[in-house]
Point group: C2
Chain length 241, copies 2
């Protein structure tokens, strides 16, 4: 029998489609079922419409992909706008670090986003705004324009909170698989096998499930930030031709 519920599953298809609704539904599908599930037909289904209806609100699927990347980066901007940390003097490093780690948290909620981002051929305005803010922290921290410019390149995707971990591409248990592979080929991979052994010996608790992604991300990030600070203090300036 039908009780007086908020007719969600029963009577949904009221509200009309819109570009915004399409994009939000696309993020939802990608979050819940992975980016490969994001087809125009599946997306339409999510909205209780037909695939062809989407084309009234977006020109091509590419526009959907551009749009969901934009949504994610705007989510990042919303988060970092709320941080409000001073960036004077030595504080710049802390401020940049905090901003990047906040961005990372957003990407961890949308694990498909980095890969999609890399396929886009245009840079979204939201990305430019994010970079502008990060650059501002560096400049206020005393980095020259030139050094800050190199810094953005050196950080690469790390500036936005993600990095290419070559042993975890699928996002699954690739790490364990790689470890097993090394063990099997230990004879041909003396150094990797030795490293595994040494680490297991030093820290017997460590699951051979292995690396703490967050810790490794922060290690690399700090290595770069420390290096940049040192260059700043050495009054580093561009090697001119």
């Amino acid at each position: 029998m039908r009780v007086a519920t908020q007719g969600q599953a029963e009577s949904a298809p009221r509200i009309p489609l819109s570009r915004d609704r399409v994009l939000r539904a696309a993020v939802k599908v990608a979050d819940e079922h992975g980016i490969s599930a994001l087809t125009m037909r599946r997306l339409a289904e999510e909205l209780g419409a037909e695939a062809m209806s989407l084309y009234y609100h977006v020109a091509k699927k590419d526009e959907v992909l551009d749009g969901i990347v934009d949504l994610v980066v705007r989510e990042i901007n919303d988060v970092v706008d709320r941080l409000e940390v001073s960036a004077e003097g030595h504080g710049w490093k802390k401020a940049v670090r905090q901003r990047i780690l906040s961005a990372r948290e957003v990407f961890l909620r949308h694990r498909w986003a980095p890969a999609v981002m890399e396929t886009r051929s245009t840079t979204s305005p939201a990305v430019l705004r994010y970079y502008d803010g990060l650059l501002g922290l560096m400049l206020r921290g005393g980095l020259s324009h030139d050094l800050a410019h190199h810094a953005l390149h050196a950080l690469g995707s790390r500036a936005l909170g993600f990095s290419q971990e070559l042993f975890d591409p699928g996002g699954g248990a690739a790490d364990e698989k790689a470890v097993a592979e090394v063990a099997k080929m230990a004879g041909h991979l003396p150094n990797l096998a030795g490293m595994l052994g040494a680490i297991a010996h030093d820290d017997p608790d460590s699951t051979p499930g292995w690396c703490d992604d967050q810790a490794e991300f922060e290690f690399g990030l700090d290595l770069l930030l420390d290096g940049l600070e040192r260059l700043r203090d050495a009054k580093w300036s561009s090697r001119r031709k």
Copy 2:
């Protein structure tokens, strides 16, 4: 009229298919026409066969993708095996640097490879062998197992010679486009606009076509390597819990 040529275009379809021929043809198609042109049908055409014939030599398209990544990394291993640089003492940094830049050259010949590599869920043995060699240089250079382990993570894809340049995803003139975008939105992007201005002022010759990818790659790489060396000399050891 038909002259006595080496019947390449005329009488090709002699030699039988094989897994190896399939993979080499796949690399050729991707190199010449981009990864999006690499369909089973197109690949078969390249080989003078039907698409369905390929399935006798490879199980799925995924196997083709795994295979061509493997071919590229083996090309890298062939190149770096020929380098033979000592890695003792302070030489380790030079050796690692040279090896990575050599790997980079190979990727520059196969620009589709980094993106494909990231989609693979299994790590090819060739990649493990490459990492083993790089790790060996670091260990011989005096880095602890633990530091060298972090080093591999920190380098990320840079260890293999590529990095995510966020302003050049499509591989085209995305840089110029981004610069134009910044100019247009200068009011909302004060720091980026200021940086562009400052750099143009310092170096009036610089095309606003802009960044030297190779130089930026090396900047980031050196920042990391210098940082690692400093940690080694500071007798850095893992922060244990």
